[in-house]
């Protein structure tokens, strides 16, 4: 319950931040930003490993982005399927030599290709080294001072890059990273690499995740961003200042949560150097990504997230509760450590306490049930507040049917789904202690 109350406080902060952002962005529309012709050049890095189903659609969507100068750099991370062949055929790739700024050590690059049809498309074929290694290779080879990392199975909205780059236009010298909102693509219709109609999936498991995304992005990250202590920029969509990332040493290979770890490390480094900087979350540039549709993939994904969280927190444990690190040490690190990292254990201990208490007669059955009921109510309350934020600000699911489905999901998720997620997170914690560093197999339907 304490956890829920703390989360509720962060929600309130997010709510204010979100409303402020919504009002401010009305006065800096993408069209105005585009017209100004001063968008900083951006390299979009797309690590791809066995993505033959979705890679062509993803690249097409990226090439159609509304932005000034940008290049798309796809890093084929030793795919065993036809990812490279699909790209070669679709974009008429031709091998080139490339003068790269080798500042971060990476696996060997086999070849660099440039498209004959799209001048701003570069494909790097390299030996398998994982997502972090692919991104580091991209950083070494890309041309521009800002790089945007996105997942190969994701779709960016036309104006997403303009939006996510806007903070750099406002305060280039202080902004070091910005992150955007990730939404579930399942259920939506996609045409020419763009989302045409936004609809909810018919699968309950996806709708639970839609709610989780709302809670995490709209209600959590917005609040932390307002306090300049945002610890996560999703690997699916983030824009970074290349030089600062290189200075920090690039992405780490020895973690499965390389996206979060990099952001925590940037905070750690810049706060230690007493630099004036900001890492911001911008809620309206949208990246659509496929949410897992089966329980096994979802479990593996959450298990990995939990292990990644563990790495990110424990590598930088020095900041936890340390006032020298300001809001990062005093607000977000404690939140992620106590509420996100070890809360699954607390939750299970709570369940065990009540069950054993009832069994031995030390806890009143009615009190136990009431307590459980209260946690359910608080869970529903948080989901509904997130939903309210979405309704007031973005209203992307504009059918009333979708809203009712989400309200129903907010109630149902507390009976089974939430306990399952707690279980896989506990398992993730256990695997983390055992030193498991695997990614696990992710089943994807693919963007058609």
């Amino acid at each position: 319950m304490l956890i829920s109350m703390y989360t509720l406080l962060i929600f309130c902060l997010s709510f204010v931040g979100l409303l402020q952002h919504r009002l401010k962005e009305k006065f800096a529309t993408p069209l105005e930003i585009r017209k100004a012709k001063i968008t900083p050049p951006v390299s979009i890095l797309v690590p791809a490993h066995n993505e033959e189903k979705s890679i062509a659609a993803s690249i097409k969507s990226l090439l159609n982005l509304e932005y000034g100068e940008f290049e798309v750099v796809v890093i084929n991370d030793g795919s065993k399927d036809k990812t490279l062949d699909v790209m070669k055929e679709e974009f008429q790739l031709r091998e080139i030599r490339q003068d790269s700024n080798h500042q971060i050590p990476t696996q060997k690059v086999n070849a660099v290709y440039r498209s004959r049809t799209c001048k701003n498309l570069i494909v790097i074929d390299k030996q398998n080294g994982g997502k972090a290694d692919s991104l580091n290779t991209g950083i070494n080879i890309c041309s521009y001072p800002l790089f945007c990392c996105i997942d190969a199975d994701s779709i960016l909205e036309k104006h997403s890059l303009l939006r996510i780059a806007y903070p750099y236009m406002e305060a280039y010298s202080t902004v070091v990273a910005t992150g955007g909102l990730v939404r579930a693509l399942n259920g939506c219709t996609v045409k020419d690499g763009q989302v045409q109609t936004v609809k909810l999936s018919k699968k309950l498991i996806v709708n639970f995740q839609v709610l989780e995304y709302f809670r995490s992005f709209l209600s959590g990250r917005m609040g932390f961003s307002a306090l300049n202590c945002l610890l996560i920029i999703s690997g699916a969509f983030g824009l970074f200042k290349k030089q600062v990332v290189i200075e920090a040493g690039g992405y780490r290979h020895d973690t499965v949560g390389e996206d979060m770890e990099l952001v925590v490390r940037l905070h750690h480094m810049l706060r230690k150097q007493k630099k004036n900087y900001s890492i911001q979350f911008i809620p309206d540039p949208v990246c659509w990504t496929e949410a897992p549709e089966d329980i096994g993939t979802l479990g593996r994904q959450r298990n990995r997230w939990q292990r990644g969280l563990g790495d990110s927190l424990l590598f930088h444990i020095e900041m936890l509760g340390n006032p020298r690190y300001g809001t990062v040490g005093m607000v977000s690190m404690p939140y992620f450590f106590f509420i996100e990292f070890i809360s699954p254990i607390v939750e299970y201990v709570g369940y065990a306490f009540f069950i054993l208490g009832i069994a031995f007669g030390t806890v009143d059955v009615r009190a136990g049930l009431l307590f459980f009921f209260l946690t359910v109510i608080l869970g529903v309350l948080m989901s509904l507040i997130s939903l309210l934020m979405e309704e007031i600000t973005f209203d992307r699911y504009n059918r009333i049917r979708d809203l009712l489905r989400l309200i129903a999901a907010a109630v149902i998720e507390n009976f089974g789904y939430r306990q399952y997620i707690t279980f896989v997170r506990t398992k993730g914690l256990y695997d983390y202690i055992r030193g498991n560093k695997s990614w696990g197999v992710m089943k994807r339907a693919g963007i058609s």
């Binding site: 009002l23 401010k24 009305k26 006065f27 800096a28 105005e32 930003i33 017209k35 100004a36 012709k37 001063i38 031709r94 080139i96 030599r97 490339q98 003068d99 790269s100 700024n101 440039r114 004959r116 041309s143 750099y168 236009m169 406002e170 305060a171 280039y172 009143d364 009615r366 009190a367 009431l370 307590f371 009921f373 209260l374 109510i377 608080l378 529903v380 309350l381 509904l384 507040i385 939903l387 309210l388 309704e391 007031i392 209203d395 504009n398 009333i400 809203l403 009712l404 309200i407």
Partner: protein, 349 residues
Amino acid sequence: MLSILLNISFVFTLVIILLILILVGIKAVNILWRANKKHAQAWIAPLLENYIANADAPVPAALQSRGWPLSTIVQYSVIYRSFGKKGKELGRIAQAYEALGFIDADLKRLKSPFWWVRAEGARCLGQMKSHRTKPALLEGLNDPVKEVRMICAWSLGRSGETDVILPIMETLVKVSGLAGMRLSSTVFELGKKAIDPLVQILDNKDPAVRTLAIHLLAEVGGHSTAKHITRKTAKDEHKEVRIAAYKALGTLEEPSAETVFSEGLKDDAWEVRAQSARGLGMIGSDISSGLLKKALEDTNWWVRRNAGEALTKLGQKGKKMLVLVQKTGASAEARNAAAQWMDTLEQLG
């Protein structure tokens, strides 16, 4: 204990029910608002079109003195109709806007305690290029909220009067250099009229204002402004101003700047060297190929990159230099860069 838990649960349950009702209510209001707007626009649009097309026609009575929400729908229908319009057509739309009393309403909005209402009022006034509201908008340049100042500056820029350039630029620079550049793009609407005031601003004491003036001059003024911009490449000038000046000369593709760029390639600041290399490529003069060959061997990656790109634009002489560096370049980086740009050149055909 049990009763406390029960009471808390009861309160939270009520809150949940209330939230669900609010959510459904908001959704219903949104759906109704969209439907109402669509319906209203269906009859507003022909009336507006008819008014704009007939110069002597009075403002349609059906559009006047409407209560909320119709008045808002009418106001924004007029605003949307004005997007992308210029000259007489915009003048006619602005006439309707004034006659319907929206200018006065916007002036009232400029005094609202809520910053977003003030900003929206300023935006509508700017969209309609209302001249009589200039004093109120100038006052808005001192608004405590950044967004309001930016929108007021934008609106003043649209008014087409040169005396607003300096206050606009000073306001925008205080907000942020880049935001300034973004919104000052509206100064472009002034066209050639803006050149003289901008040339004067080149001597402003604030380097950020001078930088902004250079960017704008390059966009608005064309080649006639090159000599003024060249003045700002002097060694004793502020570094950011010099970088902007080199960049602007490159953007202008100013042939007379070749000597300036050659000098720039020897500068201590890599940003100046990179802009000079870019500029030489933009001019496309093959006399500079020797200098670019040297720049291709620079220690800074950005200078090498721009020099390589520039050489690809110089035809046979550029190609010759790329081949030369590829074979005999002083460093591996230079040889790699040359190889890369040779590939690009081949690809460009």
